[in-house]
Symmetry: C2
Subunit: 377 residues, 2 copies
């Protein structure tokens, strides 16, 4: 990534100034420049078809290939075992919060929820609205969710155990998945999907919107164990059943074709990086640059999350001198950085450094932080 | 639209051959070249922000403006009265088929459905699954849906009357909306949305996916009378209630930002054409080019829909010599046309000529049809 350049405009036939900044937005978020460039270049004529990918029938051969290849590539990249189906849905995690109890809770059964903050709570609320019986198996509420509860004791016989693997707001992340006992985990991976290898052994279902690590907003990827379909209820409408998507390879109705295409490009890019192990190593290196500055100056920069539960995706911190926060943000804009304001529940600052944020972006932020400290420490 | 050109590639720094064909696909469908070009040109750097529109936070100022402007522009272009809210949802018409009975049917009430073929039937099926009481107020099933039932007698006291304004498969279209008596119409406008001015007087709700006349697939526009929200039920999850979207200007969770942006560009393009009256006139002229060839040669080309109920969006016909259909299609490909194969329920041929299909495309097809007849008649 380079922050700006001259672009020879195709039909204006003159050089146009274009810039790129380091975008630390929590999502929708920065995407690989290579992926954006490829999409731009073939936007009017996809593979010599004379049509844009977004103008094509989802039942035509060209799109079908893009669709099937993206699913095959996801299965390979994330090493998804055969027992799972890959589904392309819409409506984001918020819709899954309802679909999970509707489809996975058994009549007379009980579900489990791990509460690590806002997103977990939203999931719990929908189970309540639907009248599903559940138990909160663990919570980090007592300390404004600045840690990951561990170990977790899960009672026997639960229909599923729902959890959020990474919390964007507090900057916490399960570094390993907890053991759900005789049940299986249903994991909201929205904000760390495809950022590291996934251990599928305890997972019954995983889901994520694309808009952090994997593409534009507007597509929800669901990876679900086929054994769950038998729990579906007669009175559930077709579009709210996982089996509907499974039966028709997610082409029961018109899917968001642009997102599926972009997801395929991002998956290719992940392969080129060396797969999820390489991506994880890069993410660790990136996060360390920023956490190291925080840790070196604990009287000036106050990290929110407990060290051992820190997220590699979202770094959250406050300034000891809170009154300097606006100055800090103003300076980042001048230095071609954006999206660093913290979520209102935590305040302060947040750097979202998903897969596509280059090392140079994290380095630029770390340098800026050191510089800011020198001027204001 | 021109069918191909040399494109000065921005970083390969050489001329690249690009082509554009006439794409008669039923949807996702052809989009205005101007819109595609604008989107391409600002794909890496939106309005000097240094970010792509698809990388931006949906809660940031830049996207917020795109979002709000698109809603305001839709209200102006379609002359939507104040009593309606505009909602941006996902999941397509298929999801609405479930949400409508869930949210609009009253306990102990009865809904009405007009059955003009496949899409109406799919809507009816979801009402059945949900156990909603309904009556089929009219049907064109007796003649493979080649006509629009009229006049329609609607019993008093229905919760709503559901109808499909244009049927892509049979090529039929309500040229004016029917009178629903003391009820209101809920209109699936998926395939003729924004193709002509809309008379809102009998409408309680209208909805449409973008992917025919209005943009890429992945966004469902819902235009709903606010009075319906009071019918919502306690046990309905948040994402399945219209009021959730209304309360938060459709930003309750992350929306498909790319589609909203593209929809805004298409609305601007519609304004530039002269608005819906001008678009309607253009559509009438375009359709006439093809229907005239069919009508001039009724022994060779067999139109499917009854003349007075013909769609301006989807022209459907068969060849009297059915065995020539493959030859006909092969020839269209050679002439840079695509997407003309009929739906399996009707067979034969179908030309989808939504707003963005230029007059030249319809002229090219009409010329081809005359030529094909000369060779094979």
């Amino acid at each position: 990534m380079f922050s700006n350049w001259l672009y020879l405009h195709p039909y204006k036939k003159k050089q146009v100034f274009m810039k790129r900044i380091f975008n630390f937005s929590a999502g929708p978020a920065t995407l690989p420049l290579e992926v954006l460039t490829e999409a731009r270049d073939e936007f009017l004529d996809f593979q010599g078809s004379g049509m844009s990918i977004i103008e094509m029938s989802h039942r035509g051969g060209i799109f079908q290939k893009v669709h099937d290849e993206s699913m095959a590539r996801l299965r390979a990249v994330a090493a998804i075992p055969e027992r799972f189906d890959i589904l392309y849905m819409t409506g984001g995690a918020s819709t899954q919060f309802a679909l999970i109890p509707m489809n996975l809770a058994r009549k007379g059964g009980k579900a489990g929820y791990i509460n690590t903050g806002v997103w977990s709570k939203k999931a719990i609320e929908q189970a309540k609205i639907l009248g599903v019986d559940f138990v909160e198996v663990a919570s980090s509420k007592d300390q404004n969710h600045n840690y990951i509860p561990s170990p977790i004791n899960v009672p026997a016989g639960l229909d599923y155990v729902h959890m959020t693997s990474n919390n964007t707001i507090y900057g916490t992340q399960f570094r390993t998945l907890p053991n759900p006992g005789d049940s299986k985990l249903v994991v909201d991976m929205s904000s760390d999907f495809l950022s590291r290898p996934i251990d599928w052994s305890h997972i019954g279902m995983a889901y994520a919107g694309l808009q952090k690590n994997a593409g534009p907003s507007g597509l929800t990827v669901v990876i679900i164990d086929r054994e769950y379909y038998e729990r579906e209820k007669e009175e559930t409408p077709s579009m709210f059943r996982y089996s509907t998507f499974a039966k028709e390879q997610s082409l029961y109705n018109t899917p968001p074709t642009f997102q599926i295409y972009m997801f395929g490009l991002v998956l290719k890019w992940i392969e080129k990086q060396g797969g999820l192990t390489a991506v994880d190593a890069a993410n660790e290196k990136k996060a360390k640059l920023i956490y190291d500055v925080i840790d070196a100056h604990p009287d000036f920069y106050l990290g929110h999350a407990r060290k051992e539960d820190r997220s590699l995706m979202n770094v959250t911190w406050n300034l000891a001198k809170q009154e300097l926060t606006d100055d800090f943000l103003k300076g980042t804009k001048a230095a071609s950085m954006d999206g660093l304001k913290g979520h209102r529940s935590v305040g302060g600052l947040r750097a979202s450094i998903y897969n596509a944020m280059p090392l140079e972006g994290c380095q630029a932020l770390a340098d800026y932080m050191k510089d800011f400290l020198k001027k204001n420490g």
